[in-house]
Structure formats: structure tokens, C-alpha cells
């Protein structure tokens, strides 16, 4: 058994290496001083990051992604939290169907979702625009928010709310003073989740984006068509830091909040 366990452990290490090594190589190469940005490594340098900042197209793509991600996360978290509250706190007829409807956007292949939304809005004379991009990202991230927030809400005991109500608080006060603070970590998780999904999305974005507008992933995709330049690796590194550090920070913050709340 212990031999088998050793094999399993070794296998696990190998699988994790497989998952992380390629990304580690991207990050390593982005600091490479070599002018082709490939092996062999010739010392460390930040030149490719400087090149990034000086590249207008990339800076613009970054701004687009940032604004799009923020708007997406605010809109889809608002809708998702409300829906999750209804799903967790109430019983009503047709709940199973509603539950399926809420996660339908991830059951449908993203390409199909992209085509349907694009053609429908074009028929309504809505051109490929930032608005279309935003609608697409909202509908695509909504199920993730619902699932994440729902999972957290189940853990919040109803008794707290009932206690507040029985002590004379009205429904709105109860929500503001009890429910909202308790579910704040869930709301934050939903916002971060939808932000990163939006920030990373390429499948739908390539269909929806207007000509000339690029997000970071589509910018990388367009640059890949020429050849793999060290700038792409640097951009990749920035993106990894952005999308990984942010959730980690958020998780730490949420834990902090939760700890403070339970300490009271």
C-alpha cells in the first residue's frame, strides 16, 4: 500500500508540474534579456515590460479589459446575488426549472451563445459594440456568480435573520444589518469570479468585439498570429499576476472580514 501511495504522490507531483510548468516558462521568459525572448536565457531584464507600457495598442486593450471586467462584475453580481437569495431563501413552484435556466448559459457551448447573441442583437440593429460585449460577458458570467453565491448562502443560518426580525427589525433593516454583512464574502467572491472570467474571456469576445477594439486576450491572440514575441510573454506575466493575485487578495480579505465578523 505504501508503495502504491508513493506512486500516487509522485503522479500528483508530475500532474501539477504539467499544469504549472508551461506558465512558469512564460513568466521566466518574460524576464529574458535575449532579444528573441527565447532560450537560452541571457540574464534578467525588464525590457519587455517597458516595451509593453510603450505599446499603445496593449495599453488600450488593458483599459478595455479593465472597464469591461469591472462593469461585468458589478452587473452580473447584482443580478446573481438577488437570484441566489431567491433560490436559497424561498420555496416556490418550478424551482428546478429556474435553477436550470440560471445555469443554462454555461450548459450551452460558448460558441453557440456567442453566435445567437451576436445575430439576435444585429437583427435589432445593435452593431458589434462595447454594449454587445458587455451583455455577452454578463450573461456568460451570471451562472458562475449564482453558483458561487448560492453555495456560500447555504452556509448562512436563517436563525440570525429570524432573531433580528423577532427583535423588531423590519425586513429591510434585517437585510442591511444582518444578511448583507454575513453574505459580504459571498458577494466579493462573486465579483472577483465574474471579473476574472470576463477579463480572461476570448471565445465569445472574438465574436462580439467591434473592429479595432481589443481586449487583452484578443490582443495576445492577434499578436500570436505573427510570431511569438517576448512582448507576449511579458503581457502573459502581467495577466497572470493580475488574475491570480487579485483572487488571492480577495480571498484573504474575505477571510479577514469573516474572522472579524465572527469575532464580534
Amino acid at each position: 500500500m505504501s508503495l502504491a501511495w508513493t506512486a500516487i504522490r509522485l503522479g500528483t507531483v508530475l500532474v501539477y508540474l504539467f499544469m504549472f510548468a508551461p506558465v512558469a516558462v512564460v513568466m521566466l521568459l518574460s524576464f529574458n534579456a535575449n532579444q528573441f525572448g527565447s532560450f537560452p536565457l541571457e540574464g534578467l531584464s525588464l525590457r519587455w515590460f517597458v516595451a509593453l507600457i510603450e505599446n499603445d495598442a496593449i495599453v488600450r486593450a488593458f483599459q478595455t479589459s479593465l472597464v469591461l471586467g469591472l462593469l461585468t462584475s458589478v452587473i452580473s453580481t447584482t443580478m446573481g446575488v438577488l437570484a441566489a437569495l431567491a433560490m436559497v431563501r424561498y420555496d416556490f413552484p418550478g424551482k428546478r426549472l429556474i435553477s436550470t435556466a440560471l445555469i443554462a448559459p454555461i450548459l450551452v457551448p460558448e460558441v453557440v451563445l456567442a453566435v445567437a447573441l451576436l445575430l439576435f442583437l444585429q437583427a435589432l440593429d445593435v452593431p458589434r459594440s462595447f454594449f454587445l460585449l458587455l451583455m455577452g460577458h454578463v450573461i456568460f458570467t451570471l451562472p458562475f456568480v449564482v453558483l458561487v453565491v448560492q453555495a456560500r448562502l447555504v452556509g448562512i443560518r436563517r436563525e440570525y435573520e429570524e432573531a433580528a426580525l423577532s427583535l423588531g427589525a423590519n425586513a429591510f433593516q434585517t437585510f442591511r444589518e444582518v444578511t448583507l454583512p454575513l453574505m459580504l464574502p459571498a458577494v466579493l467572491a462573486g465579483m472577483l469570479f465574474s471579473f476574472t472570467i470576463s477579463f480572461d474571456d476570448i471565445t465569445g469576445t472574438l465574436f462580439w468585439k467591434p473592429g479595432g477594439v481589443e481586449t487583452v486576450p484578443t490582443q495576445i491572440f492577434a499578436m500570436l498570429r505573427n510570431s511569438i514575441s517576448p512582448e507576449i510573454n511579458a503581457l502573459g506575466t502581467v495577466m497572470v499576476v493580475f488574475t491570480v493575485a487579485l483572487p488571492l487578495l480577495g480571498a484573504a480579505l474575505a477571510r479577514r472580514l469573516a474572522a472579524r465578523m465572527s469575532g464580534r
Partner: protein, 293 residues
């Protein structure tokens, strides 16, 4: 906020008020658009580029009978199936390890497992060019060691498409298997062992069958996500490695033949949708939602 109304109070409007923004969005941005492309797929794109409204079966006839589309469809299903099987075989090991290891490793490994979800798909896909490309890590090592005289062309074939897909899909599989393994009552394997099973027998007779829901959920996710991608073949595949979603992209974005693109995407939806339906009939869609807990 709590539902204090008694059932006798009759219809409770509050859950529907809370649900209305989300349901309205799903209806307006997903349900109606999907119905719309069903209608659209029967229209016709004329030689002038204008669309002819009506009921024409031409697009469907082309999509369903043209060998070109059928071959690419089969190729897509094959690539997705191979990737899924590899994910299941490779993913079971770390899932098992995470589920049965002492707590200290567990939290770290789970956190690490979530990281790829945060690292952009396009970055993870293109990272393989740095590894396998002509001036990538493997070729550099081979050249340095003197094993080859010039770089080997390893990229842009079906194998690298599958590699890219496995790399992208593996975390989904591991997470689903782990969730399922973690829910197994440990006393069951203990009982099997005390009744004389070897470790391997206990695994084969107890643990493996009980983890089937997780394996199935992971496989469904991997297959559906894999069969619906067009980015991986575009980045890591050659000209002959197009997948079905590439055809959709071509028709819609490049050729602007929207009726044909509608028919193509509906065919993809029907195939993958049927799979999801069969799955939820037998196992319930809830299994997938479990991995968010």
C-alpha cells in the same frame, strides 16, 4: 428578508422579484437569441450577400450531407473524446491524492488546483509554443545536448491540439473527481479491508464505483468544453486540425454567411445538448454544481 409569510398567505411575489433581473437577462440574451438563430438557419444568403427571408432547407442540407462538415464533426468528437479520456486517467491520481492526504497538503493542493482557472486560457494555450516551438525549451535542450542538429517541428498537429486541450481541461476533471471522492464515507473502505479485501480490491470494488458520479460530471464538462473550442486548434493546430467551432467562426466572422453559421452552431448545440440531457437524466445536473462548494 426571511420568508415569514405563511403558506396560507397565498402567492409569494418576493422570490420572483429577486429572480426577475437574472431571468429577464437569460430570456433576452440567451433563450430568445437561440430561438432566433433557429429561424435564421432557414433563411438563405444569396449571391449578392443579402439575406433572403423564408423557409429554405438549403443550409441544413449542406450542413447535414456535405462530407466536409461530417469529417470535421467526427474529427471534433474524436479529439474531444481522446482529451476527455486522457483527463480522466491522468486526473484521477491527483484527485485521489488530494482526497486522502493529510490536511496540511490538502488545502495547498486545492488552492493550487484552482489557480489554472484564474490563469487565462489563451496564455495557457500559447505557453506550449514556448515549450515545444522551434526555439522552445525542448528543442533548446535537445540542441544543447547535441541530440539533434536542427530543431524538430513538434507543434501544429492533432497531438498538440489534444495536449493543449488536456492542459486546459484537466483542472475541471480533477476538481469533479475530488468532490466525489471526498464525499465517500471512509468507513466503507475500512469495512471492505476488514472483510479481507486488499487495498486494490477495496479501491476497485468500493472507491472507484462510488466516484463514478464525479468522473461522469468531469467527463461531461471536459467533453462539452473540448468539443466547443476553436481557440486551441487555431493556436496549436495545423491547417487540417480545424474543429467544428472553427467552422462556425469561419462562417460567421470571416464569410459573414450568418444563416449557414446559424445552422452549424445549432448542430453543435443539438449534439452537445443531447449529451447534457442524457447525463442530467441519469445523474442530475446538480453534481456539477457541487464543485462550487
Amino acid at each position: 428578508m426571511a420568508a415569514s409569510a405563511s403558506p396560507a398567505a397565498g402567492f409569494d411575489r418576493r422570490p420572483w422579484l429577486l429572480l426577475s433581473p437574472a431571468l429577464a437577462s437569460v430570456t433576452l440574451l440567451l433563450v430568445i437569441p437561440t430561438l432566433f438563430i433557429v429561424v435564421y438557419s432557414f433563411w438563405l444568403r444569396t449571391a449578392t450577400g443579402a439575406e433572403q427571408v423564408g423557409f429554405f432547407l438549403d443550409n441544413w442540407e449542406e450542413v447535414l450531407t456535405d462530407r466536409f462538415y461530417r469529417d470535421i464533426l467526427l474529427q471534433t468528437l474524436r479529439i474531444a473524446a481522446i482529451s476527455t479520456v486522457i483527463c480522466a486517467l491522468v486526473g484521477y491520481i491527483p484527485a485521489y491524492f488530494i482526497a486522502y492526504t493529510p490536511t496540511r497538503h490538502k488545502a495547498l493542493l486545492l488552492l493550487l488546483l484552482m489557480l489554472p482557472f484564474w490563469v487565462s486560457y489563451i496564455i495557457r494555450t500559447m505557453s506550449w509554443i514556448n515549450i515545444l516551438g522551434v526555439s522552445g525549451a525542448v528543442n533548446s535542450a535537445l540542441l544543447w545536448a547535441g541530440l539533434v542538429d536542427e530543431p524538430i517541428q513538434m507543434l501544429y498537429n492533432e497531438a498538440t491540439v489534444i495536449l493543449g486541450l488536456v492542459h486546459f481541461l484537466l483542472p475541471f476533471m480533477i476538481l469533479n473527481i475530488y468532490v466525489s471522492l471526498d464525499g465517500i464515507d471512509r468507513s466503507l473502505t475500512d469495512a471492505a479491508r476488514s472483510l479481507g479485501c486488499t487495498g486494490w480490491q477495496a479501491f476497485r470494488e468500493v472507491t472507484l464505483p462510488l466516484s463514478v458520479p464525479g468522473l461522469a460530471a468531469g467527463s461531461l464538462l471536459c467533453f462539452v468544453l473540448g468539443a466547443g473550442t476553436y481557440i486551441t486548434p487555431m493556436v496549436l493546430g495545423g491547417p487540417t486540425n480545424a474543429m467544428f467551432a472553427n467552422l462556425v467562426f469561419e462562417a460567421i466572422v470571416t464569410q459573414l454567411n450568418w444563416p449557414l453559421g446559424s445552422a452549424l452552431s445549432l448542430l453543435l448545440l443539438a449534439l452537445l445538448g443531447a449529451l447534457v440531457m442524457v447525463y442530467s437524466r441519469f445523474l442530475g445536473i446538480d453534481q456539477i454544481a457541487k464543485s462550487f462548494r
